[in-house]
Structure formats: structure tokens, C-alpha cells
């Protein structure tokens, strides 16, 4: 329909296009190779990289850019307000308290990829902490930890089954879980309001242990960089051998260079304080494993497919109910692991563990980091970026002696809202640019 007025504008004779006209144009079109060179083929080299970046921004594929800008803004503002925000002490503190909610946020990323939400993750964390705390008093520590984490897996499986098999909306199931498991947590704790972490428990080490040797932080940094560089190089070589578009070496070096600055500065910062925190190592390990699962395995591909179109996924032979159930199991498991970190940071199991704004922090972290609320788009790394933003704000406010929940809640709420607005707007832009 839209071509008719255009055709009459251009052609002096206002006749509609006939099929002969179209046929006359086709021989020229037939010469075009399988990949249309006008579109989306990157120039090799640095210029191509910049062009592609600009094109992505224009069409709304902004990814993690807002959160990176956000982190810089937060750093600059608090540095200006306090005069000593960008310090190794703050780096250490932020990392220490980021690990627990960050791990829980990784689980939320999985659920968000399906376009669903898990409101129970805070309560699951609290209950797992309580289960561990109660069991650890008369059981080997490792067994208590295992059972605590398994309790989270079990609760996640329950949410997933009720959602996938019975068809109750996920937010209702997990809302019920949010209340129910918080109640169960109090019941499990019994008369005790807190159970201190037993001496020598691994849970205590989660946020207290540091690899004090200077070589640890630098060694890990170098290891990460080498692995990153070699993986990219290998991928690029394979693609080149298969005659597919590949990243030029200059771009790989640039990416590795940017990453190198970040991790080496971080490693230096940690070494100025107590060393490399164990919590960070575990958090990074979970991020690496989950990223691998999502991007490199059939399972991950199926999670994205279910998030992008349930009907298409079902017809491709994907067991949608299993994907849904298993994703909630992952969310429950990571929620429980996060709960043990929270217990470690507060000094033991607690009736109010995982309550308060903990749940909102996790969901906000995932969304702020760039994972879409609408399903099908996101990365586990958004959990890391998002929780860094939120924890930096908390740390900055603490430094300004604005520790009251009032200010912190308002700012966290505002940041979450901004993140969702950016998500919605970028989705709209992608639609109008024909990319969503």
C-alpha cells in the first residue's frame, strides 16, 4: 500500500506498478550475493568497530552502556561530595557486600530471560540461611551447607512446577513464596532470633576470607586476561578459517586492553587492602559458569528461545515446561547460595535475613545491568554491573552518613525506575529501527 503513492510521486505517469515493472527490475537484483553488502557487513579494522558501535546506539541496542555511564556518574558525584569515595577501602567494601545479592541477581537474570519474575528469591535466601544455621549446630558444616542450598533448589522446583505445569502466573506463585517462605524461615528459626555462625564454618569464610598474597589478585587478573584474549583469538581464527566475518586482531587487542586496565586496577586496589576476597572469586566463578551455560550450550539457547517465543520454542521440540521449571530451580539454588553470603556478612542465620529491600536489590541489579524485563534479552554480567551500581550508592550514602533506609530506598527506587525506562525506550527504538 505504501509504495503506491511513492510510485506516483516519482513517475510522471500516475499508473500503478504492474507485475511487468517488477519483473523488469529483478535481473539486477538477482546479481546480489547472498549477503547484501549494503547492510550490516562490518568493515574490517578499527573503523568498522566504531561504525558498528554508532549503528547499534542509533538503533537502540545500547546493552550495558547506560550502566557503565551510571557507574562513572556515581563515582564522580560521590567523589565530589565526600572527597574520598574512589578508594581501595570502598572497593573492598562494595565487593564484599555485592557478592550475595549479586549471586541472587544472576538467578533473577535467568528468570527475566524467560520474561517472568521471581519475587521469592529474598525469602528463599532467608530460609536457606535458616536451614543451614539450624542444621550446622549439630551436623558437619559441609552437609548443612549442602542441605541449605538444596532447600533453595527444592523451593525453586516448586515455584517452577506450579508455574509451568498448572499455569499459575509466575509472579503470583513467587509472591505466595515470598510470604510463605519468610514465614517458614521464622518457624525454622524457632525461638532464636539469630544463630551465630559456628566457629570454623566455611560460611563465615565466605565474606571474611582473603587471599592475602599479593600474587593471588594479580595472578587471577592475568589468568582472566589470558583466557579472554586466547578465547577471542581462537574464535576469530576459526571464523577466519571458515571464511566467516571475524574480529580483527586490533579489536581483540583493544578489548583485552580495556579489560586489562579494569582488572589490574581492581587487583591493585584489593592488594592495597586485605587482598583478593574469596567472595569475589566465588561470584566470578558463578558468573563464568552461568555465562557459559547461557551462551554456549543447548540449554542456554533453549532458555533464550522460550523467552523469545513460547510457540516457536515448543514447535522446535523444546520441552518448555522443563525449561521453565529448571530456570526457577536455578534461581532458587542461586538464591540459597546468596542467602549463605548474606548470613556470612551478618554473622549468622537471622529471622530477618533476606527480608527488607533485599529482593528489590536483586531484581533491580539484574534490570539496571541491562537485562530486559520483557524476556529474551540479557546477560549474566548485568547482575555484576547492576549490583556494583547499587552497592556503590549504598556505600556512598553510608559515607555521607545518610545510612537511613529512607534516602537509600528512594534512590534505589529511582535508579530502578530509570533502568526500566531505559529498557522500555530502547525496546521502542529497536522496534522502530526494525530490530526487535
Amino acid at each position: 500500500m505504501s509504495t503506491t503513492p511513492k510510485a506516483t510521486d516519482e513517475a510522471p505517469v500516475p499508473e500503478p506498478r504492474t507485475s511487468e515493472d517488477v519483473a523488469a527490475e529483478t535481473p539486477a537484483a538477482a546479481a546480489i550475493p547472498a549477503v547484501d553488502p549494503r547492510l550490516l557487513v562490518r568493515e574490517q579494522g578499527f573503523k568498522g568497530y566504531v561504525d558498528e558501535f554508532k549503528r547499534k546506539i542509533r538503533s537502540g541496542e545500547i546493552g550495558s552502556l547506560p550502566v557503565v555511564i551510571g557507574l562513572i556518574v556515581i563515582g564522580v558525584v560521590f567523589q565530589a561530595l565526600t572527597g574520598n569515595f574512589i578508594t581501595s577501602y570502598n572497593l573492598d567494601q562494595i565487593t564484599l557486600y555485592a557478592a550475595g545479592p549479586g549471586i541472587m541477581a544472576v538467578g533473577i537474570v535467568f528468570v527475566l530471560l524467560l520474561g517472568e519474575i521471581d519475587l521469592a528469591v529474598g525469602s528463599v535466601a532467608g530460609l536457606a540461611g535458616a536451614v543451614w544455621g539450624v542444621l550446622a549446630t549439630d551436623m558437619p558444616d559441609s552437609l548443612a551447607i549442602l542441605l541449605g542450598i538444596l532447600s533453595g533448589t527444592l523451593l525453586g522446583a516448586f515455584h517452577g512446577l506450579v508455574f509451568a505445569k498448572i499455569g499459575v502466573p509466575a509472579f503470583v506463585v513467587t509472591l505466595a513464596g515470598f510470604l510463605g517462605w519468610a514465614g517458614l524461615q521464622t518457624w525454622v528459626m524457632g525461638e532464636r532470633s539469630t544463630i551465630p555462625t559456628p566457629i570454623g564454618s566455611f560460611v563465615g569464610d565466605l565474606t571474611k576470607y582473603y587471599f592475602a598474597d599479593v600474587a593471588a589478585a594479580y595472578g587471577l587478573a592475568v589468568l582472566v586476561l589470558a583466557a579472554f584474549y586466547l578465547a577471542q583469538l581462537r574464535d576469530s581464527r576459526r571464523r577466519k578459517a571458515a571464511e566467516l566475518p571475524h574480529r580483527p586482531h586490533s579489536e581483540i587487542l583493544l578489548r583485552t586492553g580495556v579489560l586489562a586496565v579494569l582488572v589490574l586496577v581492581a587487583a591493585y586496589g584489593f592488594n592495597q587492602e586485605k587482598g583478593l576476597p574469596l567472595s569475589l572469586v566465588i561470584f566470578l566463578l558463578i558468573l563464568l559458569v552461568t555465562d557459559f551455560v547461557l551462551r554456549r550450550t543447548t540449554y542456554g539457547r533453549q532458555v533464550f528461545a522460550v523467552g523469545g517465543g513460547i510457540e516457536a520454542a515448543r514447535r522446535a521440540g523444546i520441552n518448555v515446561a522443563w525449561i521453565r521449571t529448571s530456570v526457577f530451580m536455578i534461581s532458587g539454588t542461586l538464591g540459597a547460595v546468596g542467602g549463605l553470603f548474606l548470613a556470612s556478612a551478618t554473622g549468622g542465620a537471622d529471622r530477618s535475613l533476606g527480608g527488607g529491600n533485599q529482593l528489590m536489590m536483586c531484581i533491580a541489579a539484574a534490570v539496571i545491568g541491562g537485562t530486559s524485563l520483557f524476556g529474551g534479552r540479557g546477560k549474566v554480567w548485568s547482575a555484576l554491573l547492576g549490583i556494583l551500581v547499587l552497592q556503590s550508592i549504598v556505600q556512598g550514602l553510608n559515607q555521607l552518613n545518610l545510612e537511613s533506609n529512607a534516602i537509600q530506598y528512594m534512590i534505589t527506587g529511582a535508579v530502578l525506575l530509570i533502568a526500566v525506562i531505559i529498557d522500555s525506550v530502547s525496546r521502542k527504538t529497536q522496534k522502530s529501527a526494525g530490530r526487535a
Binding site: A34, L39, A242, R301, G317, G434
Partner: protein, 259 residues
């Protein structure tokens, strides 16, 4: 065409609640044959196709695959036999790129890990042998036009090396040039020795590419015609029920004799 049909349906019945959608439908598809399945709205074309695809298991009847009876109760059963279905709504995941969509459900792996390079290479080869032009195999399907999505959906059906391809209204939403592309593609499928079931409302398309036309009317067979020797009017008559032709008369006569 004397050899055993790749796929044969014999006396298929399917009921949804109070509606008897299919009553004793027969259909045969041979290798290298394009069978057009035509009929008015509600004739049961889509339901018949969905029984083959395993979306709706049949109530009664026999499905034969290369001469032996098989049971198709899930989409996987149908896929494992070698039936690929391209639905009218295409069923592509908008958020995944072309390569991921082509290989969805049968990803190529290397040591348990997705082999993106091999998949991208095969995707490019497949698309170029089918002369399919799309801007890039690494953009989300959401960014493609209607015709491009249609050819991607058909290409997707071919990834699993099927023996039968079912196309549900592949040209319904396409322009002139894109329709021509899809019809070319159907002919290429026949040349490769695949059996094709083509659902279409467009008689011009049917006459252009089909070898056989099977007409459904109100959930029953209403004649099977070789395209070369059948006129447009005869097919339309069979579709609308204004039938008084050799095939229906003969069927009525054999039915009488049987009784």
C-alpha cells in the same frame, strides 16, 4: 509414482469437542512430488497438517511412513520420521538471530558446546544453495521483512534433512517478487527429491508448482486431481462442493458396490 508413498494417511478421523473436523481423510505423498492441499476455510486442511506434524494426535486411522504404520503423538515423533513443517505463523524466535533460528532444536555441537562457527557456515551454505538473500545471518529475525522471514522459516525446515516438507500458506502474506521466490524454492525442494505438501488458497500458485491437488471439503476428501490434466474450474468446483465430476461419481459408485 508407482513406488510406495513416503507418507500415506488412511482414514484419518479427528474430533475437537462437538466438531468432527476430519472424517476418514486419505492422502498420499511420494518423493519428489508436490501435493497441493486445497479447500475452503474450515475444510480441515490445517488440522490435517497438524496431525501429521504431531501437534494434534489423530483419533482414528493409520499413518504410514514408507509403507509401515507409525504413531505420531508428539511433534518430536514427526520430526524424527523426517517431516518438517512450516506454519503460517512461521514460529520463529524474534530475539534469536537467523543462525540460531535455523538450528533451533537441533544445534550443532562440538564436545557438548554449541559450534557457532559450523552452524553459521552451514547456514550460509544452505541459504546460498537456496538463493536466499538476507542482509546478515547474525541479525535478530525481528529485523527481517515478511518474505525474508518466510524463506528463513522454509530454510529452517530443511536443516534436519527431511523427506517431507509441509508448507502452510507460504505465500499468503507476500508480494509478487517474494511469492515468486518462494515458488522457486518449492520447485528446488522437489528437484532435491523431497515430498512437499503445500496448503494454498491461491490457484495460480497451485497450478504453477503442484503435481497433484488434493481437495478437502467439510473434513472429507473431495477428489484428488493430477494438475496437468485438470482445469482450474474442476478444482474450484471440488472446493466449493459444486462437484459432479468423474472422481466423485466413481467414488460414489464404488461406495455403493461396497455396500
Amino acid at each position: 509414482m508407482s513406488q510406495t508413498p513416503v507418507l500415506a494417511l488412511r482414514g484419518i478421523f479427528k474430533r475437537f469437542g462437538a466438531v468432527q473436523v476430519l472424517s476418514g481423510v486419505d492422502l498420499e505423498v511420494h518423493a519428489g512430488e508436490v501435493v497441493a492441499l486445497v479447500g475452503d476455510n474450515g475444510a480441515g486442511k490445517s488440522t490435517l497438517v497438524k496431525t501429521i506434524a504431531g501437534v494434534h494426535p489423530i483419533d482414528e486411522g493409520v499413518i504410514e511412513w514408507e509403507g509401515r504404520p507409525v504413531e505420531i503423538s508428539r511433534p518430536q515423533d514427526s520430526q524424527n520420521l523426517g517431516v518438517a513443517t512450516v506454519y503460517q505463523d512461521l514460529a520463529l524466535c524474534d530475539n534469536l538471530d537467523v543462525v540460531a533460528n535455523l538450528f533451533l532444536g537441533r544445534e550443532l555441537k562440538k564436545g557438548g558446546v554449541l559450534d557457532e562457527v559450523a552452524m553459521e557456515k552451514r547456514a550460509k551454505d544452505l541459504l546460498s544453495t537456496l538463493s536466499i538473500r538476507i542482509p546478515s545471518v547474525r541479525i535478530p529475525v525481528a529485523a527481517l521483512s515478511g518474505g525474508q522471514r518466510q524463506v528463513v522459516a522454509i530454510a529452517r525446515a530443511l536443516v534436519g534433512d527431511p523427506k517431507i516438507v509441509i508448507l502452510d500458506e507460504p505465500t499468503a502474506a507476500l508480494g509478487v517478487e517474494q511469492t515468486a521466490q518462494v515458488l522457486d524454492l518449492v520447485e528446488r525442494l522437489r528437484e532435491q527429491g523431497l515430498g512437499v505438501i503445500l496448503i494454498s488458497h491461491n490457484m495460480a500458485d497451485v497450478k504453477a508448482v503442484a503435481d497433484t491437488v488434493a481437495v478437502l471439503r467439510l473434513g472429507r476428501n473431495n477428489g484428488t486431481f493430477p494438475v496437468a490434466t485438470t482445469t482450474h474450474e474442476e478444482i474450484i468446483a471440488a472446493i466449493t462442493g459444486a462437484t459432479d465430476n468423474a472422481v466423485t461419481r466413481r467414488q460414489a459408485r464404488t461406495a455403493e458396490v461396497a455396500q
